[in-house]
Symmetry: C2
Subunit: 253 residues, 2 copies
Amino acid sequence: MAEKKEVLARQVPCQLCPLRKLDIFRPFTPEELDFVSQFKTGEVKVKAGDPLFLEGANCAHLYTLLSGLAFRYKLLPDGRRQILNYCTPGDFLGLQGSVMQEMQHSVEALSDMVLCVFQREGLWRLFESHAGLSFDVTWLAARSEQILDQQLLSVGRRSALERCAHLLLHLLDRLAELGMTSSRATVSIPITQQHIADTLGLSLVHTNRTLGRLMREGAIRWREKEFEILDRSRLAELASEEGALTGATRPLL
Amino acid sequence: MAEKKEVLARQVPCQLCPLRKLDIFRPFTPEELDFVSQFKTGEVKVKAGDPLFLEGANCAHLYTLLSGLAFRYKLLPDGRRQILNYCTPGDFLGLQGSVMQEMQHSVEALSDMVLCVFQREGLWRLFESHAGLSFDVTWLAARSEQILDQQLLSVGRRSALERCAHLLLHLLDRLAELGMTSSRATVSIPITQQHIADTLGLSLVHTNRTLGRLMREGAIRWREKEFEILDRSRLAELASEEGALTGATRPLL
DNA sequence: CGCGACCTTGAGTAGGCTCAATGCCGGTGG
DNA sequence: CCACCGGCATTGAGCCTACTCAAGGTCGCG
């Protein structure tokens, strides 16, 4: 309990992984499931607010996020923070650290998380023995690059109002496909306005005012770290959408 | 000549590829070189200003940039453009298009380019038969994600002056490791201030003034699509550097 | 010689920033 | 039970960075 990361004995066998039931994840062959099962060395819990990775560290592990949410970020020497993206269940974390020498960004838990743990060396065995899974790893890397591209477009070229609208829609969509939204379009996500500001490259105050505008317009509701999209089409219009991400089924390691 | 893309018969065998001599690229085994050689189906030339990919297209090819420069970008419906990053020789282009359904960004040549062409299906054979090369593809994907992370940090959290300084240093470093700089720190790169503006999320006018400041400070010189870093340490200081990219040797496909 | 592409510069505006204060919890210790 | 404190949202005021509009200026090219 005093530990930041609580290491657990292996819990759920991959074959029974509840995430895998979602139909956004591509079905794995029994053989693949076997491999992943032994690739996985355990589980770990991280408490909300705790770090999973710290920039500059050389982490020996890879993770698949099983439950909970997190975010990736970078800091400038004087403390300015840029949130790069959000991590949702099914995301494969730590690839950069395994593939390059060290992690160039940090990851922090937004809510309590459970993660599958893999050893760095296991990744190499994965590449040697499973072309399909290797391709999946690459697929996941390409996907997160796409998300980053979108985010960069937003931060670089959209107005504050557009950015907010776009981000909320993006989060809604990502959580919806995981079944993490309540009825309607209500997203429960433990972020503060400071997180949003740091994601969008805005100041806290201005973020607050911009969200206020969206609320007064009746496009969203925001209360207690939970927001609801009331008028999706209005929001999409405000966001200057550029075409959504592919909804293709994805791999889950 | 009337063609946008000029397809050439196979020219240089990979074993003799001049790029491969650079010591930033990891040495390949003869066996790997053989495979890459037959993976490569030809070469293509693209003229400065011409597109290599267009967003939304479903491209059947993958490329390795042999010579010349390009940039990746996205557009908003109303025409605002965000340049995502620059492509330099050795970069592997089109992975997103091969791995996902379609390309979510465009690529345009900055200067005349020569590229190696690979078939999309060849990538699958690569994964099946060459774990090392598969790993390399993933490595390259992870690296471009890192570069994007940096860029996002810049656009989101740095001031105009910091962004300019950071970008110039970044370009200098990337071109220097390829031996594409002249003596000293002179970078010859055919970009306009509009490119810089679209990279940094700034307006053209403000970019001009900011570069002007850097020039008046004596940190850089800019003339005719070519700039020179006169005072690297000053520039680094202005850039609020966050730690450079790994200089590790990289794969070249 | 005129035109197009690009760089410069001026002037005025505004979107977004900082500083600062207030209000609203929920948790904690006295 | 209550007072206090810390984290977060909100709001006002004033400022400044960066944007827009608008004119040139330079250079290369047909």
